[in-house]
Every structure is written in C-alpha cells, then in structure tokens.
C-alpha cells in the first residue's frame, strides 16, 4: 500500500466519557479516525465498541469530553448537516415488514431532501449507484425482510452509501454471516476506502478478517482503548492476551504478510492425533 501523507482526521473523540443511566461505559477515550482508511474497532463483548460508535455518530451524548467533526463539536451542529457528512449503520438494524429494498436505500437520501426543495435526479442517481455498488439492484422491488442475511446487510450498506457521506461508521456489519459473505462485504468496504476515498470505521468480530482488511486496528477493553495502530504493529499475541484474554500464536500470511492468529488450545481440549473413534469430529477454528 502506498504510504500517502497522513491527512488531518475529520472525526475525533477527545477524552470521551459516555454511558447509559444504569452504567458508565466509556472511560476516557481518545480517538482520531484516519482519513481515507479502513479502521477496525476490536474488543470483547461489552467492552464499549457500540457505545463508542454511537458517541462518535452523535446518537449518544457524552457525559464528558467531546466529539469533533471538521473542527466543530458534533453535538452542537445541525443534525441534518452532520448526516450529510457522516453515515452510521447501528448494530443489528431491522426493517419494517414489507419495506422494499429500493425504499430502504432511498431513506439514505433523507438528509439531502427538504419538504420544499428536492433534487429528484441527484437522489435517483445516488440510489442507483449505491444499489449497483452493493449489487442489490436485482432484487430492488423485493421486501427487505424476505432476503437472506447477507443480501439484507448489503441493502443496509446501500442505504448508508446513498447518503453520500465521506465518513461511514458500521457496527458489526458482518456478524452472523457466512465466511464467504463476510469476505465479499469486507472487499466491498475496503474498496470504498481505497478506491473512493471514503473514511470507514467498522466494528468487527472476526479477528483474522480484521487483521487482513484493516489499515488500522483499535483495540478496546472495559471502555478504554488499549492500543491502536497498523495490524502488523498491534496484532500481537501480547495484545490478544491483554484485550481478549486469548491464548494465541500470531503467524504471518505468507502471501499478504498480514498477521493471523491461531488460538492455542489448552491441554486436553486439543483433538488427539489418532482419534479414538472415527466418529469424533474435528472442530475447525474460525
């Protein structure tokens, strides 16, 4: 990857504290989302990844600290203007019964439309382009709730793309999908960053996919950022142990050079070399 001079980040969080009535979650998070790159947020369940994403996308107000978009406090800005620059897809969105793919994607145009002023042609162009890019045009008139998980997720991503924002935050866009579908989606998202200059921040579950596709990794635990940097720098056995409490060896993909982790099974959990009975199945590590 050519090392382009680092552009000044447009979205930053400074000393963020945030949470819900019942509990505090973020405990002093500083983060600058790298421009034109694909950043992946990793961390165990409940570590505050979604909370951080919501705070950065101004759907949750921090109790202390601030989020800046283009140098201004995001919570003081007009929410519609923010939506013209920053799109977010929350974790596990659900579409109402009967909503068609085209209607869903069209919702992405909301921040660009006004009651008295609409650019129908530009809207149609953006919707068409988003559907073509995510390859959902073939079932544009079908109900979103009648599609497969992977198709549905592509529709939601198409909605965010139709919003035509430079900054895109996605919360677990690939969870519960087949590996092949996850890979396809990540290819698509990575092209958005590298070929279309968009800035992406994703939460992912799969460590190896994150290491393979991310330009930068951010690792969280207990509402704090433990470490961040390129996969080569931070995707280490020490960090995996420290963040996920995972015993793993980190190898290098001989072709791409990206790090891969292989969990080290504890004694006894390891399948024996000669199975006692032919019916014992070997579970794959995924």
């Amino acid at each position: 990857m050519p090392s382009t001079p680092a552009k000044t980040p447009r979205l930053t969080g400074e000393a963020l504290h945030a949470g819900y009535e019942s509990r505090r979650v973020l405990d002093g998070v500083d983060l600058a989302v790298a421009e034109g790159q694909l950043t992946v947020l990793l961390g165990p369940n409940g570590s505050g990844k979604s909370t951080l994403l919501k705070t950065l996308a101004r759907t949750l107000t921090p109790s202390a600290g601030r989020v800046c978009l283009d140098g201004q406090d995001i919570h003081r800005r007009n929410t519609r203007e923010v939506a013209q620059r920053l799109g977010i897809l929350p974790q596990g969105p659900s579409a109402p019964e009967g909503l068609t793919v085209r209607q869903l994607v069209g919702m992405g145009r909301f921040p660009h439309r006004r009651l008295w002023r609409q650019d129908a042609e530009r809207d149609a162009r953006a919707i068409h382009a988003a559907m073509a890019y995510t390859d959902v045009a073939a079932f544009a008139e079908r109900s979103v709730d009648a599609l497969s998980g992977g198709q549905r997720q592509r529709c939601w991503i198409a909605m965010v793309l139709a919003q035509e924002t430079d900054l895109i935050l996605l919360d677990e866009p690939t969870t519960f999908l087949d590996l092949k579908v996850q890979v396809d989606l990540l290819e698509l998202l990575s092209r958005l960053a590298h070929e279309h200059g968009r800035t992406l921040l994703l939460v992912l579950h799969d460590l190896n996919l994150a290491a393979a596709y991310a330009d930068r990794l951010v690792m969280m635990r207990d509402g704090r950022i433990v470490t961040s940097g390129t996969p080569r720098d931070v995707f280490t056995a020490t960090h995996l142990k420290g963040v996920f409490d995972l015993d793993a060896r980190v190898l290098e993909d001989p072709e791409t050079g990206s790090p891969i982790c292989v969990p080290t099974p504890r004694r006894g959990a390891r399948p024996s070399a000669r199975p006692a009975s032919p019916t014992v199945d070997r579970r794959c590590i995924s």
């Binding site: 009535e21 799109g87 009967g98 869903l104 919702m107 909301f110 162009r125 953006a126 988003a130």
Partner: protein
C-alpha cells in the same frame, strides 16, 4: 480522490408503480366516500327519495325535507366522516410511533381520559347543565390523560414502549373510576354516559362539526410535514438519528397531532376506538409503506367505517337509533383477534 464509474452512474428512469397504485386507490376511496355520503343522506327514519334530497340540498328552504337533510342528516354525516378520519389518522400516527400494529389511541389513555371526564361531567351536573359543554370536558380529559401518561413515561426522552405500559395502567385506573361514577350517578345520566361510552353520533349538529374541523385542519397537514421523518423512524431511532432526524422533536410533534385528533374525535363522538386500530391497517394493506400515502388513505377508510356504522345504527333497526360504536366494535373486535393471531404466527 475521484469516484469510479460504479458510484457515478446515472439513474435510470424508475417506474413508480406504488405511486400510481396509491393515486388510483385514493381516488376510488374518495369517490366511494362521496357516493356513500349521498346514499346516507337519502336514508333515514323519514322516507325520502334521492330526488327530494337533491332538491332540498340546493334549495335549503323551510320545507320538512330541507330541515331533515340540512339540520339532521348532513351534520351527522359530515361529523361521522370527520370523526372517522381523525381517529384513523390518530391511529396511523400512533402505530407508526410505537412501531406496533396493535396500538391505538386507547393505549395511551386518550379514550379513557375523555370517558372519565365526560362521565364525571354527567355525574356532577347531571343533564342539567347544557350538554354542549360535554365535548369540551371530554377533550380536556383526553389531553390531560395523554399529558399525564407522557410525564409519567418521560425518562431523559420518551420511550414508546414505556408510554404504552404507563398508558395501559392509567387507562385501567381511570376505567375503574369511570365505572364507579356511572354506578353512583342517577339513571338518566348513567344512560347517557353508556351511550356516550359506546360511541354515538346521535343528535350531531353543525356546531359539533365546527368544533372538530379545526383540529383536523391543523393536525393533519402538520403530521404530513413530518411524514418522511416518520418513515425514517420506522427503521429505528438510531438509524433515524444517523440520517439526521431529530427524533425527540419529531416524536413530540407527531404525538401532539395524534393526541389532539383522537381527543377531539372522542370528545364529539365518544369511544369509537376500534376505528383507530383498523383503518390504518387496511390502509397499509392497500398502499403499503410510506406515511405520506398512509395518512390520506387511512383517513378515507376511517371516514367510510364510521359513516357506515352510523348509517346502520340509524336505519337497520328502525325505529331504534343505535350507537355507531356497536357496529364499529362488532367489526373491530373480530378484526383485532385476527391481527393478534397473525402477529403471533409471524413472530412465532
């Protein structure tokens, strides 16, 4: 960096089939409503022909038929249409906000608040004080109940599901007090209260029409300006906020529309509650998603339901004039069971 071709293709002309379908259905329903109003105008305890009615309509002079048409039937028919439309739109808004097809303005205490206030009015003043004050007190009751539900459910913002829970609880409490008041009030007042609770357009006057109309003229256009916000909120609060919707603000505006429409309708016609449940449903079946299309369609269907329920009540059991609410509930209750059944199968 430049965007590649795939993100910059020109949009092809998309056929807008749902829009054409909506226009067709709305036109049909509008025509159906007009002819039904005409039919309703010609039917009643006093036999009148279409020709006589037509004649009386254009020459509103002091003939008996002109009096029947202009002062008895027409205000009642127009009020039925307005009440049906108001309840249907109130229901459409509420179902969209709560994201539950089984919700109706009842669940946030509007009907029971209006009922309690109306019955309290009847119990306190009997039928002695002018009955013209009944709608005003019922409306006040509806608005106060909604406000109370709202305040009790408020928790750094408003959660629709919490509001429904509070509404159901408060409705039950108010229902108990209403029953108590009916039991202790005298027979005439109790009888009147029962008819009011069932929902009736008996003895509707132009004054009632003029009382209800302004609410519709303000609330319906206002909720339509928020139609796209509503469509976005159907995707969930977080998605809507991400798209730039001011969720709390929109919800307050829409809630106020729903409450005032339902409150005003209930004030003039009593508890015709099922209309707010059924009409938006049928409308959604006919024209699909999209709040801007749902609202007018639901309004037309609600108007038709109340119009026919009232017509049945007026002419089917002559010489008795039965409350329209009986027929609305007669159709509504089985429909509700059907909805419950269907939602259970969908989610199960």
């Amino acid at each position: 960096m430049t965007h590649s071709a795939s993100l910059n293709q020109t949009g092809e002309g998309t056929t807008d089939a749902p829009r054409a379908r909506y226009l067709r259905i709305a036109t049909l329903l509008g025509l159906l409503l007009l002819t039904s109003m005409g039919l309703s105008l010609a039917l009643g305890s006093f036999p009148t022909s279409f020709v006589e009615v037509g004649h009386a309509l254009v020459t509103p002079q002091d003939s008996d038929i002109a009096f029947i048409v202009w002062e008895l039937r027409l205000p009642r028919i127009v009020l039925a249409v307005l009440v049906g439309a108001a309840l249907a739109v109130a229901g459409a808004i509420l179902q969209a906000i709560v994201r539950n097809p089984l919700a109706s303005p009842d669940v946030i205490g509007i009907t029971s608040g209006a009922a309690l206030a109306a019955v309290a009015f009847l119990a306190l003043f009997g039928t002695a004080l002018s009955i013209h004050w009944l709608p005003a007190s019922a409306l006040t009751g509806a608005l106060l109940a909604a406000l109370l539900v709202f305040l009790l459910a408020w928790q750094r913002g408003i959660s629709p599901s919490r509001m429904v829970l509070v509404g159901i609880g408060l409705s039950a409490a108010m229902g108990a007090v209403t029953t108590l008041l009916i039991v202790i009030s005298d027979d005439a007042a109790a009888m009147y209260a029962y008819v009011w609770l069932t929902g009736s357009l008996y003895a509707a006057q132009w004054q009632d029409v003029l009382g209800l109309l302004p609410w519709l003229l303000v609330a319906v256009p206002l909720c339509l300006t928020r139609a796209r916000h509503m469509d976005a909120m159907a995707l969930g609060d977080q998605v809507a906020q991400g798209l730039g919707v001011h969720v709390l603000h929109s919800r307050l505006v829409l809630m106020a529309c729903s409450v005032s429409l339902a409150g005003a309708a209930v004030a003039f016609a009593g508890g015709l509650s099922f209309v707010g449940l059924i009409a938006p449903h049928i409308a959604a079946r006919l024209v699909g998603r999209g709040f801007a299309r749902l609202v007018p369609t639901a309004a037309l269907i609600g108007a038709l339901i109340v119009l026919y329920a009232d017509l049945l009540g007026r002419v089917a059991f002559l010489p008795k004039d039965l409350p329209a609410g009986i027929f609305v509930s007669g159709v509504g209750a089985p429909f509700f069971v059907y909805l419950l059944h269907r939602t259970r199968y969908r989610s199960g």
